[in-house]
């Protein structure tokens, strides 16, 4: 049973517009959430994270929103750029800072984002 789900396999947007990538989770013990970006033939790279004690975290063009009651998070990219075209993975862990999760992450299936010039 997939505990982290990204139900949209792909997303296509125009350069300069907003990209919204969604992620749902079922495990109520998850308390730390991350987004990773992956280019072809490369490993995933960390993008942004959010703790369950927050509902929003912003870093430049990237903002992650967390709705704990709905067990839903989203990544907003504004404005989108062609270089943002990649696979985006949502991930979650239990235990957070100082916890016992040992950094183990549960990943979603990924969403392929294509930003057209």
């Amino acid at each position: 049973d997939q505990q982290v789900k990204q139900n949209s396999p792909s997303l296509s947007v125009q350069e300069g517009r907003i990209s919204i990538l969604n992620c749902d989770y079922t495990n109520s013990m998850f308390d730390y959430f991350l987004w990773y970006k992956k280019y072809p033939a490369e490993g995933p790279t960390f993008l942004i994270s959010i703790s369950s004690i927050k509902d929003k975290n912003e870093d430049g063009r990237f903002t992650v929103f967390l709705n704990k009651s709905a067990k839903h998070l989203s990544l907003h990219i504004v404005p989108s750029q062609p270089g943002d075209s990649a696979v985006y993975f949502c991930a979650a862990s239990e235990g957070g800072a100082g916890g016992t999760s040992y950094g183990k992450l549960t990943f979603g299936q990924g969403t392929i984002l294509t930003v057209h010039p």
Partner: protein, 116 residues
């Protein structure tokens, strides 16, 4: 600074053959992980290690063994490869949890394994 390095990058095996994937990190990280990525499945944790000489099972450990004899190296072994183990394997490392750095994994470039 190389970060996380995986060897080999590509390998083709026949069913029943054995092989070892090597992961090396130069960031002095305590924790190391092996994930596999399959289409439509995301990344799934195979085994992980919280320090030199320790290993633990992840979500999909069957058919794999690991060893962490040195802090900087984490080896993933397939004793008798099966077609179901055809996948892209990613090694990752991280600082121990606690403090500012939490949950951020640093990944290698991946190793594509095909079992015929």
């Amino acid at each position: 600074n190389a970060g996380v390095t995986q060897t080999p990058k590509f390998r083709v095996l026949k069913t029943g053959q054995s092989m070892t994937l090597l992961c090396a990190q130069d960031m002095n990280h305590e924790y190391m992980y092996w994930y596999r990525q399959d289409p439509g499945m995301g990344l799934r944790l195979i085994h992980y290690s919280v320090g030199e000489g320790t290993t633990a099972k992840g979500e999909v450990p069957d058919g794999y063994n690991v060893s962490r004899l040195k802090k900087q190296n984490f080896l993933l072994g397939l004793e008798s490869a099966a077609p179901s183990q055809t996948s892209v394997y990613f090694c990752a490392s991280s600082y121990s949890t606690g403090g500012v750095r939490t949950g951020e994994l640093f990944f290698g470039e991946g190793s594509r394994l095909t079992v015929l």
